[in-house]
Amino acid sequence: MKDKPSFDVEVHHVTRVEGHGNIYVSVKNGTIERCEWAISEAPRFFEAMVIGRQWNELHHITSRTCGICSIGHTLASLKATEAAMGITIGEQDLKLRKLALHAENMQSHLLHLGFLVLPDLMDVGSIIPLASSHPKEVKTVLRLHRLANEMSNMICGRTTHPQRLLPGGFSKIPTMKELTALRDRLKAAIDDLQAVAELFRSRIHKFPDFIRETEFIALTNPKEYALYDGQIASTDTGTAPVNEYLLFTNEYIVPHSTAKWAKHARESYMVGALARFNINYDLLSPLAKKTAEMFKLKPICHNPFMNNIAQLVEVVHSVEDSIKLINELETAGLRSQPEYYKPEVKVKAGRGVGAVEVPRGILFHDYKYNEKGVCIKANCVIPTNQNHANIELDMKALLPKIIDKTPKEIELTLEMLVRAYDPCISCSTHAIKIHFT
């Protein structure tokens, strides 16, 4: 009879993820004694930092929660401020904001797929050796990533920590000429994306065939594949207005994490590309659905590793939907606005919640302002926090299935599981809990 295995796996700071997280596994005589996903990132206290700050500074400050999804944080922040003060934005600004969000989703997903996930599929430690072994593929990924960054730059005035997005509108907008040039490049990018999809399909066997049923939560909207706006939807309990987010997120503290954890109808839930795919599949663009078919990906998929493929599907959707948005802007005729535009805002007291689907899932910002427009309370619930519990439960379910592999293989598989969630740990340790009464 085979000996029962005894080993420890300690990954102190999982690599190729954003921020600092550790995996601890201890197995004695075939019994799992410890299987933990721990967060050691230094906490940053954003919700305390914004107290006392003006309404027109909050999006600038909270953008700094995350370098990778700074556009998403800015948009959630603006929506919360706008909801609190009853500020509305026009149809043109709405479309431009949607383009900004598409640009960021593309940038972030491509960074994750190309720089962080691809090395696992190609049996190397980073993209660096791939640059010489697979120069064509690496250059294709880089070219797509560049396009997404230039798109962010064109809409937001910067690739990271946007400048043009303001409560009530934009300080500056792109010209129609810039937008049509962008549209040409987006159309040309479809072939590049096809090549990336083929590359992933050829290596898809590297993802374990692992299923653990869980609850998925994402925004949903009957009119479109929800990213910028919608209601909260759960695969377990149905839909609810964004203002009721605290009933979904239920954050709690665990001693082995500087980030907060969350749970809803079950012990854990999942947010992100796979959650959105599972809930809003019908509203994906035609080419995005075709890309999903390439991988036999269908809702509802309970394999967390397929979050990677859902991201790829979403990149295709973002390209197609961006082309559509630019067409609509062209048809309506792009209205110009004065230089250094500062939207008129009537400052008033109030509370507002903003929810946006950012690359890693549903993001909530919730602010309370006094009559002078000074922030007196703030709460931000970050996608990765909502995923931490699900990651750990997946680890606990996956480990017994792979326990006979070598500790090195186990380590890699668990790391790949964590990476599949594309965790953004800097975000998730932005930290805080304030309950509104």
């Binding site: 690599t15 921020g19 906490p43 940053r44 206290f45 919700e47 990778i68 503290i253 930290a431």
Partner: protein, 245 residues
């Protein structure tokens, strides 16, 4: 032999390391000139044998000081990248509040589990040889600093205010538009990128070495603004620098 370089991060958003990934094609060229031996965000391999260490993020707790000191010991050259590392950055906003209260607000009765102290730039802990300022850093400036270091030269970082670049770009002054701007005291080098996009300078590159306080006061008087308003805006990025002054 190619110089060995390593990247590290402390409390920050990793937006500066993202700018390095954002070099894209130029990153491939850079990789021809240096050997990256540690970069947790993009590679699995790690080595403590490196010549140049790039550090992002502020130091915000005692337990992180040892890791910084070890990096200093291992590296010949330490470069701070991004506002959090160069000046303390947006993290230093919390320095204006009672830190015990801050921890309690965030973690309630579990506050004792989560250590924190006033956010500070890394040169508050270890000597730093070069700086790439900004929130986030500018990709071109990063390349220019790394080129200087590889050539054994001191990087050329402006020590005049953002207003100089802003005027050259023919922007309408933010004060003339009725907004408050910290460009007059903020270190240039960003080509006034935020004002060019229709907003204001927020101060992310930190104070110039000798900010001209009298001329800042003149600006305030001219536009009917108060010192309190100025101090309030200074808090966004200058928290640590002001405390030292």
């Amino acid at each position: 032999m190619k110089p060995k370089v390593a990247f590290f991060d402390f409390a920050g958003c990793e937006g500066d390391q993202l700018q390095i990934a954002n070099l894209e094609e130029e990153l491939l060229t850079l990789l021809g000139q240096v050997e990256v031996v540690s970069f947790r965000e993009v590679m699995k391999e790690h080595s403590d044998n490196y010549d140049i260490a790039f550090v992002e993020g502020s130091c915000t707790r005692l337990q992180d000081e040892d890791r910084l000191k070890q990096i200093r010991k291992n590296a010949k050259i330490v470069v701070a990248i991004g506002s959090c590392a160069t000046i303390g950055g947006i993290n230093s906003l919390k320095n204006y509040q009672d830190l015990d209260e801050v921890r309690k607000t965030v973690y309630g009765d579990k506050a004792y589990l989560f250590d924190t102290y006033a956010a500070r730039p890394i040169d508050a802990i270890i000597p730093v040889d070069a700086y790439v300022h900004g929130c986030p850093i500018d990709r071109e400036e990063f390349l220019s600093v790394i080129k200087s270091l590889l050539l054994g030269k001191k990087p050329d970082i402006p020590n005049y205010p953002v207003c100089v670049e802003c005027k050259k770009n023919e922007n309408v002054c933010a004060f003339e538009r009725g907004q408050f701007c910290v460009g007059p005291v903020t270190r240039a080098g960003c080509n006034s990128c935020c004002v060019n996009e229709g907003t204001i300078c927020w101060g992310c590159r930190g104070l110039v070495d000798n900010p001209n306080e009298n001329s800042q006061k003149e600006v305030l008087i001219k536009y009917g603004l108060t010192v309190d308003e100025a101090i309030d805006k200074f808090k966004l990025y200058f928290g640590w620098q002001e405390r030292k002054r």
